[in-house]
Structure formats: C-alpha cells, structure tokens
C-alpha cells in the first residue's frame, strides 16, 4: 500500500487513489461503499424486472412477453431483490460504513474477511447473472422441488449463486458480531450502544444460525438436480415437503435479517430528528434480540396448505403471533419518541415516518396470514405479494433509503438537495401504496400469484398497480439522479448536519482513514442532544463546550 499522506483534507475517500486501492482495500468504509454501489445496481436490475412484470400484467392475456419469460422475470426479480439487495442492503452496505464508527472502533474485527465477503457477493451476483443470460431459472425464488429439479432452465447457477451469497452474508454477520463484542472502546457499554448496533447484533445472530441451513439446503438441491440423490424426490422415497421445511428454516429468519437492520436505521433517525432521547431504549434493543430468537420457530407458517400436519401448523402459528409483540413495542416506542420532541421533517425523517406507517400495514397484514384458517384462503394469492412488498419494499427498502440519506453526508462528504429529496420520498411513497394496496384487494378476492394470465375481473386493479409501479420507478429515478449529481455538485457536508450524538458524527465528514483523529471518549448514551447546538455558519451542529454551558 502506498504510504499514507497526512494532509489536512485527508479522508478515507482520498487517502489512496486508483481503482486497485478500492478493490484491495481493507477499510470498512470503502468496502461499505462498494457494497452500496453494487446493491443499488442490483436494485436497478431487480426493479427493471419488476417494471417488466407490471407491464406484462397490464392486460389479462399476453401483453409484452411470453409465459416462460414472465416466469423467469419474477424469479429473477425475487432472487435479486432478496439475495442481492435487501439481505446485504442495510447490514453490509450501511452497516459496514457506520458500524465501526458508531462503536468507536478503528475497523471491523476481520478486515480481510470483510473484503472477502464483498467478493463473495460479486461472485454470487455473477452466478445469478450467468443463470440470467444462459437460460434464466424459472422456479420462483423459493426453488421448490420437484419443479426446480426437473425444469429445463439453468437452475444450478442460480442455486450456486444464492449459496455463495449465503456465505457472504454469514461472514458479514460473523464479522460484525465479533466486532461488537471485542472492539468496543472503554466506556462503550452494552446499553450505551446505539440501537442500530443492537439491531446489527440481532441480525448477526440470525445470519449465523440460519444462513448455514440455506447453504446446505441449496447444496443438497444442487446435488439432487445434478445427480439425483433423491432426498427430496418422491420417486426415490424422498419428500418435497421436507425441502420446504429446510428452505423456510432459513428463509423465515431471513425476513427478519432484512427487517431488523431497518428497525435499527429508523431507531437512529427518530430521536435525531425529534431532538429527543429515544423512548424505551432497552425495550427496543432487547426486542430485536427477542425477534431474532423467536423468528427461528415460525418457519412453518409458509406451509399451512402444503400438507404440513395440524400440530406443527398450530405451533408455528402460535409463535408467529408472539413475534408481533416485540415488533409492536418498537412501533409504539418510535411514536413516543416524537411526543414532545422538536420534529424536523427532513428527507431521512420522511422515510422513517413512511417506514413506520407502511411497515405497520405490512405487519398487520402478516396477521391475516399467520392465522391458519384465513391463510388457507390467502396463501399464494396477491395478498401475500402485497404483504411482503409492504414489509420489504415499504419497510426494508424505505429504511435503506432513509439510511442512505441520513448518512449520505457522512459517507460522501456532500449534502444531497433537500427539496428534491422530499419530493422523491413523497413520490416513492405514493407510488408504493398505489402499487400494493390494490394487490391486497385482488388477493383476498382470489387472484393467485405467479400468474402470467389472469381473469378479466382483476384487470382494473392490476392496472392501478402497474400505474403505481411506474410512478415508483420514476420516483427512484429522480432519487438516483439527484444523489448521483450531488456527488459532484452537492455542497460540502458539515461534520454533523443532523445533530446526532452517536460517534460517527463526532469525526469529520467524510471520516479519516482511521476513523477518528483522536480516539473518542464515551461518557454518555447515544441519544443526548443537550450538548449540541446548531451553527448556521457551519451548516450543522457543533458541540457546546463545557465552559460555555456552565
């Protein structure tokens, strides 16, 4: 590595130059940014597939593409969005950038492993793309056997890609868990940790305990498809429902892997933009852990009509209900945080508010699905599609957007245009509801999912939904446009534009190569705002010196 230069303007972006200095970097911030770029590109790919889906569904019969292409499009869409976008989205991209900063550490525990995770992501993504350009898999992102072992499309590259991505996720989780345990500086006690870190902690637990099972499941499926070992093949005495157990043992915890970091992001945004301590810190922190643990025991709620036994169904359904409680606790605490606060409605806060509302809709519709008798009617209809888009698009992606805006000044050293930011947020939110609300209605009226052709009765709602999707697409294009532009033309960001008291705001924007010029001293909780005051000259908040205060 080149000798570091010690100019005043030295930061992690300018510390070293050239593409190789990025591709070989061990700096968590750079790795985080590389993740962010990749994840957003994948989001564009997945989003384009979504636009194709919505365009096709404009009319009941063939509109634009044929059966097979449609099936491939939603498989690609689902797999890309899940494995490439939201699982790494918040933890690996935003988490990498800010986790050591928030903790006051110099880096993550295993910087090389961190870089390796990113490369695994890239390899996994390339595998998925291989599948796409050879003969895209058409199995749905759930890869149910025996369809996935008998279809003629190239499923193995897709499976292998997801397998690799699983390891990328495992290593990220492992790295973060270790960092949170072992690299906490003096003074950073567990209950002084920002809630984002608690969320990452809970996510890490799930990544470590659930993702390996995805690995082995996909591996068995690959072997099954390649040489026919028959563990899941009824013709050889195997059992396809067993595959579903295996798959959901991972994939239900995975939905919390997606959402818990999102909880973390909004738990940061709410107090900062209300200028008030977070309400119920311990409850929010520990409820993440409760969700993580309970989340392992509910996987069978995806299988109520699969021929699963009634006993198992009852257990799964009951525990599913319990999970609503820690989630509800969080929602109520966020609202209570705003009570008597001083609320600033900047873009990150708009996304956080949107998150709270939209995620609640997604969450409560989860209740319809976790009730065994209503799920019989709703399973595999558009009601489920609407549910999970409300929680994943409306929840996780909205929080990701909020987080991107919140930390944009820190990550890039530039401010994004505030007015465009708010307009973008509103368009996306509007489009989102227009897309997915009609899907609830058609779903409960009996419109099955993964349908290329549908009955004419459903056309009006499909068209509303498509209109919404295009609106949302435009909204995201606007967001992408101003964010990219701000990289060049955005005003230079102050160190602490929002007045956060977590440690990442106590270093420069963008941070130095080693994060802190002077190691931070931690003497108080992360949500104390009394010491910060707005300084119009700086354009951000500055600490009130001790003398001035007394």
């Amino acid at each position: 590595m080149a000798a570091p230069s010690a100019t005043v303007d030295d930061n992690f972006l300018t510390h070293e130059k050239g593409i190789l200095s990025w591709l070989c970097t061990l700096d968590h911030k750079r790795i985080g940014l590389m993740y962010l770029i990749c994840v957003l590109s994948a989001f564009l790919l997945g989003g384009s597939a979504a636009m194709l889906i919505r365009a096709e569904l404009w009319t009941p019969g063939p509109t634009l593409i044929d059966h097979q292409t449609y099936n491939q499009a939603f498989t690609l869409h689902g797999a890309v969005m899940v494995f490439l976008v939201i699982i790494p989205g918040i933890p690996a991209a935003l988490g990498n950038v800010v986790l050591p900063l928030m903790l006051g550490a110099k880096d993550v525990a295993f910087p090389r492993l961190n870089l390796a995770s990113w490369y695994l992501w890239v390899i996994g993504a390339l595998c998925l793309i291989t599948s796409l350009i050879t003969n895209c898999a058409d199995t749905g992102w759930t890869f149910y056997t025996p369809y996935s072992t008998t279809t003629t499309t190239s499923v193995i590259p897709a499976l292998f890609g997801a397998f690799i991505l699983g390891f990328s996720s495992i290593f990220t989780g492992l790295n973060f868990l270790t960092t949170l345990h072992k690299l906490r500086p003096a003074g950073m006690t567990w209950f002084r940790m920002p809630l984002f870190l608690w969320a990452i902690y809970a996510t890490g637990i799930m990544q470590i305990l659930a993702t390996p099972v995805l690995g082995i499941t996909l591996l068995m499926l690959i072997v099954e498809r390649a040489v026919g070992i028959g563990i899941f093949d009824p013709a050889l005495g195997g059992d396809p429902v067993l595959f579903q157990h295996f798959f959901w043992f991972y994939s239900h915890p995975a939905v919390y892997i997606m959402i818990v970091p999102a909880f973390g992001v909004v738990s940061e945004i709410f107090p900062v933009f209300s200028r008030k301590r977070i309400f119920g810190y311990k409850f929010i922190a520990l409820s993440s852990v409760a969700i993580a643990v309970l989340g392992f025991l509910v996987w069978g709620h995806h299988m109520f009509t699969s021929g699963q036994s009634i006993v198992a169904g009852t257990v799964f359904s009951g525990i599913t209900f319990l999970i609503a409680i820690p989630t509800a606790i969080k929602a109520f605490n966020w609202i209570a945080t705003m009570y008597k606060g001083a609320v600033h409605l900047d873009t990150p806060m708009l996304y956080a508010l949107a998150f709270l509302w939209v995620f609640s809709i997604g969450g409560v519709t989860g209740m319809f699905l976790s009730v065994m008798s209503t799920d019989v009617h709703l399973h595999d209809t558009y009601f489920v599609v609407a549910h999970f888009h409300y929680v994943m698009m409306g929840g996780a992606i909205t929080a990701l957007m909020g987080g991107i805006h919140y930390w944009w000044p820190k990550m890039t050293g530039r401010m994004y245009p505030e007015k465009l930011g708010r307009i973008g947020a509103v368009i996306v939110l509007f489009g989102l509801n227009l897309t997915f609300l009609p899907q609830f209605v058609m779903g409960s009226r009996g419109m099955p999912r993964r349908y290329y052709n549908y009955l004419e009765e459903f056309q009006p709602m499909h068209q509303l939904s498509s209109l919404g999707a295009f609106t949302m697409g435009l909204g995201f294009l606007l967001v992408a446009y101003y964010l990219l532009r701000s990289l060049k033309t955005g005003p230079k960001a102050p160190d602490n534009p929002w007045g956060g008291n977590t440690l990442e705001w106590q270093t420069t924007s963008p941070p130095a190569y080693y994060n802190f010029h002077t190691p931070p001293v931690i003497t108080e909780g992360p949500y104390e705002y009394a010491d910060w005051t707005y300084d119009a000259k700086v354009g951000g908040y500055v600490r009130i010196s001790k003398q001035a205060k007394s």
Binding site: A109, P111, L174, T178, L209, I216, L219, G230, G237, P494
Partner: protein, 294 residues
C-alpha cells in the same frame, strides 16, 4: 471541511502499537485482544458449521426415525472395521493438533512442525481409507438415487454371514417377528407373511431366513438408496472438510517452520486446531450413526 486544526497524527497511526508486535493488526490494542477476537470469530464459524451439518443431520434423523429398517438393512454394506480405524485416526490427529497448539504457545518450533506433519499424515490416512471405502461402494453399485444397483443383497455379504453363520442364507423356518416389525414401521407394500419364497429370487420378492433376531431380512426394504444418499452426503461433506483442513495445515506448516508462532501469537494454530476438532467431533457422531447400527 473545517477541520484545519485536526490533529494530523493519524499518519503514524499506521504504525501504532505495531512497533512491538509485528503481527498485531492496526485495529487491535493488545495481542490478547487480537487473539480473543480471532477466537470468538472462529467459534462463531464453528457454530455455522454445526448448522451447516445440521441440515444433513435433520434429514438423517427424519429418515432414520421413520424408516429404521432401511438403516438396519443397509449398514451391513458399510465396513465397521474401516470406520473404526478412521475414527481412531481422527482422534489421534486431534491429539496431535491439540499438542501443536501447546507447542506454538511454548514456541517449541520443532515439535510444532512435527505435530503438524503428524496431523496432516493422519488427515491423508483418513482420506485414504475413505477412498478405499468409496471405491468399494462404487464398485458394488452402492450409490445414491437411481445409481443404486447393489451387486448382492445384504444376506450374501461375508459380514452378514460371519455374524449369523453360513446357515443364515439357508431357507428354513420363517415365522419370525421380522415381517411384523417391518409392517409396523411403515412397510406396507406387499408385506408378505412369513414369506415362503426361494432365496434365488430374494431381492424384492422375499427371502426366508432362520430365526435370528431382528436383523434378518426376508426381502430388501423399499428405497434403500436413501441410506446411500445420506451416507454419501454426510461423509462426502465431512471429507471435504478434512481436505480443507489438510490444506490449512499445510499452509500453517510453511509458516510454522519460520518460527513465527510463539506465546503472544499462536492464534492461527489454535484456530486451525479448533476447526480440526470440530471436524473430528462430527465424525464422532457420524461413525455410530452410519456404521454402528444394531
């Protein structure tokens, strides 16, 4: 932007405490912290390994619980002697691996090298025996899925005959409880009563055996290939882990020769040993589960 007064000592940060310990990474304060961190990381990794194998153990448990007859039948195809030897080989290699950690901690470089070499040799020994086992299986058509075409039924095997005597193959008597047992465990298909067929058409039709406890089979249970699916998945994945382990040891052997490891820096050896032990530990379960079925 406005940090003109920022202290600029981050330049020599890169050196940091590293002056004392060349192996200490910049983001750690002490060798202890570095070691503990690495150790925790490895333990977390081992946890993921347990869950990784957990999937296969789950498949195993389910099929064994619901179709014990398949396992009772097919395990005769495995060679307990080879399995036992392999278990011993792995245990010995675990001792040498643990010893290597001690050597590293005490900076006994020569002993360290010797112990690593022994561990590697054991690893190869294990794989060698696995290779012999696998080639027998392949030769005898004992493969998973559609490839399952056994050369001979269990009751023609020398092991089986040795255990139950040559007359185990003779057609005699035949009102034993075995059939009842199979029916009870879900063997509905054409459950023949006592079976009166000649041993010549044994496979899938019926084989009458003498009164010899629950080990007798009057025909091959359905879907025996399932045993081999599980056998090959589990031992195959385990073998893959042994290979990776050998690779790691070879790499560490190269490093150990330089005397790099000592009381403050023996993490890599310790971590490799932990990994090696977990591989051993999994085999400790695989051996009775696959080979030692009564």
């Amino acid at each position: 932007m406005s940090h003109a007064t920022a202290p600029s000592h981050d330049a020599d940060h890169a050196e940091g405490h590293g002056e004392h310990y060349p192996f200490l990474a910049h983001h750690f304060d002490t060798p202890e912290q570095q070691f503990e961190t690495g150790k925790m990381g490895v333990w977390l990794f081992l946890a993921t390994e347990i869950l990784f194998f957990g999937g296969l153990f789950c498949a195993y448990s389910i099929y064994r619980a619901l179709h014990p007859e398949i396992f009772e039948y097919a395990h005769y195809y495995l060679d307990t002697k080879l399995g036992a030897i392999n278990t011993c080989v792995l245990i010995i290699s675990s001792v040498t691996a643990a010893w290597a950690v001690r050597n590293a901690q005490l900076k006994q470089t020569n002993m360290l090298v010797i112990n690593i070499v022994l561990t590697i040799l054991c690893g190869f020994g294990f794989m060698g025996i696995k290779f012999i086992e696998y080639s027998h299986k392949i030769h005898d058509g004992l493969l998973p899925g559609h490839a399952y075409h056994p050369a001979e039924p269990v009751w023609e095997l020398p092991i089986y005959k040795a255990k139950y005597g040559e007359e185990g193959a003779a057609a005699e008597g035949g009102e034993h409880a075995a059939t009842g047992e199979h029916a009870a465990t879900g063997e509905h298909g054409a459950a023949e009563k006592g079976g009166e067929k000649a041993p010549a058409e044994a496979k899938h039709t019926g084989y009458v055996k003498p009164l010899m406890g629950p080990h007798e089979f009057n025909r091959e249970p359905r879907d025996v290939q399932r045993f081999f699916s599980i056998y090959f998945c589990m031992t195959g994945l385990h073998g893959l882990h042994v290979l990776v382990g050998i690779g790691i040891w070879v790499w560490l052997l190269l490093r150990a020769r330089t005397g790099e490891f000592g009381p403050k820096y023996f993490g890599p050896i310790d971590f490799a040993a932990l990994y090696w032990h977990i591989v051993d530990l999994i085999w400790i379960y695989l051996f009775p589960l696959l080979y030692l079925i009564h």
